[in-house]
């Protein structure tokens, strides 16, 4: 069965209290027909990866505006690799300087979306890069 909705985890790593973007995104993606799990603020990489595993999501979306992305995002991708979640698409957004993007992509973050990104762009990106698995 391939017509089941794509399942996305939206998570906020670290001590970053900026949750407006994450909430906008979570609701927007729901309205685009995705099943969106939102885990709230102040998530450790361990919490995020465990949630991704238990929920069997197709996509992990990390929202970070605190400036700690260079330490936190690679930790998430490394843990995902250790837990065998290599087939899960990882995207990120928030305040992430362009200069940091290559290193993050190197670490396994497939795409990064900054301020002003529309929901439609994110939805389109996910749809073209994910094939939901029947099981």
């Amino acid at each position: 069965m391939t017509d089941r909705p794509i399942k996305v985890l939206i998570a906020k790593p670290g001590l970053d209290g900026h949750d407006r973007g994450a909430k906008v995104l979570a609701r927007g993606l729901r309205d685009e027909g995705f099943e969106v799990v939102y885990t709230g603020l102040r998530q450790t990489p361990e919490m995020i990866v465990t949630a991704a595993l238990q929920e069997d999501v197709d996509v992990v979306g990390l929202s970070i505006l605190s400036g700690a992305h260079m330490t936190l995002l690679p930790r998430v991708t490394r843990l995902m690799h250790e837990r065998g979640l290599d087939d899960v698409l990882v995207t990120a957004g928030g305040i992430i300087p362009d200069d940091d993007i290559p290193a993050l992509q190197e670490a396994g973050v497939a795409a990064i979306f900054g301020p002003g990104t529309t929901i439609a762009e994110v939805a389109e990106y996910i749809r073209t890069h994910v094939r939901p698995t029947g099981a």
């Binding site: 979570a26 729901r30 027909g33 709230g40 919490m47 929920e55 698995t133 029947g134 099981a135």
Partner: protein
């Protein structure tokens, strides 16, 4: 098909052996109602049945998720493992869903003895997903002691949870108004335990008192009864206990866990047995009707089915005779449908 059977068996075995990724994949298969899921459930069912399945229902915002988190904490203290299935509604228009129950439970996300799964209702009315019962079976077979099912915030008629759970908890928040009209007769009828949450708010005691009063004047609740006749020796269901909790601080939650245990122990006198019989019936009938539909719409019988339906539409045949003919054609395929 046999590939699916093998994959289902592999996932089932791995999930029982403690592989959480396999368990998660299996739950996805269950949600998608694949042949893999069917194969796995066939295999797992005999080993399931020892978990205590607890349904938690109540109005939106009553504190169901917060209470689930508090119950997880309490059960973990007692050394029990806990699985959660938390259901949120799918949009009927886009099919999308925002699954937010987990936010309140994330503190236990990294505890190995806890497994939390969010599910979208995917068009199923009734407060759960159509596949919640199978999901609970899988978690039960995977060895969790307690399986908590959080329903969609209910309006009023979503009493399905009573058929899915051994013990049904109906949650109310204190009412600031004059009367507890918020509590709906339908929901109260299926409650094994009624919890007034937000015990820190004014009015909690009064709400609990009103509920207790209501429950003594209304007839004792009918347990989600099986339509199979129940013998006279069947014990009359007890009236539900009414408890007060403050889920956000954990106050009263130990008492709730104790009440859950008592209700379960009472199962040995037949209460939970009745719930299980009703569940078995609901599950089997759902599969029977699905299979019948598949059968009548299958390639071989579709033309006959369609001409029978057309005859009814055109009033050349009455619907009872049509149904009898379809059923007869199952027994003897030569009978014209």
């Amino acid at each position: 098909m046999s590939e699916d059977r093998i994959r289902g068996a592999e996932l089932a075995e791995a999930a029982v052996a403690g592989d959480r990724r396999a368990l998660a994949k299996l739950l996805t298969a269950v949600e998608n109602r694949t042949a893999i899921a069917e194969a796995a459930v066939r295999r797992l069912y005999p080993g399931a049945g020892s978990a205590h399945l607890v349904g938690i229902t109540g109005a939106p915002g009553a504190g169901k998720s917060t209470l689930v988190a508090a119950l997880i904490a309490e059960a973990r203290l007692a050394g029990r493992t806990v699985a959660v299935v938390a259901v949120d509604p799918s949009s009927p228009i886009t099919g999308g869903a925002l699954l937010g129950d987990r936010v309140r439970m994330q503190a236990y996300a990294t505890d190995d003895g806890v497994f939390i799964r969010s599910m979208a209702s995917r068009g199923h009315a009734g407060g759960l997903a159509a596949t919640s019962t199978s999901a609970a079976t899988v978690l039960d077979a995977a060895g969790f002691d307690l399986v908590l099912l959080e329903t969609v915030g209910t309006g009023q008629s979503e009493v399905e949870v009573a058929a899915a759970a051994d013990t049904t908890v109906v949650l109310e928040a204190p009412d600031m108004g004059d009367e507890v009209q918020a509590i709906k007769a339908g929901l109260l009828e299926v409650a094994d335990i009624v919890v007034v949450n937000k015990g820190d708010r004014p009015g909690a005691q009064r709400t609990a008192a009103q509920l207790r009063a209501m429950l003594t004047v209304t007839p004792a609740p009918r347990r989600a009864a099986s339509s199979l006749g129940e013998g006279d020796d069947h014990p009359a269901p007890k009236r539900p206990e009414v408890l007060i909790t403050t889920a956000s601080t954990g106050d009263g939650v130990a008492a709730l866990l104790a009440a859950l245990d008592r209700h379960r122990a009472a199962g040995r006198d037949g209460l939970v047995d009745a719930a299980r019989l009703a569940r078995a019936e609901a599950q089997v009938w759902a599969i029977v009707s699905e299979r019948l539909r598949d059968r009548f719409h299958g390639e071989a019988s579709r033309p006959a089915t369609e001409s029978t339906l057309r005859a009814v539409a055109e009033h050349r045949l009455d619907p009872y005779t049509a149904a009898d003919r379809l059923l007869a054609s199952l027994v003897d395929p030569r009978t014209p449908a």
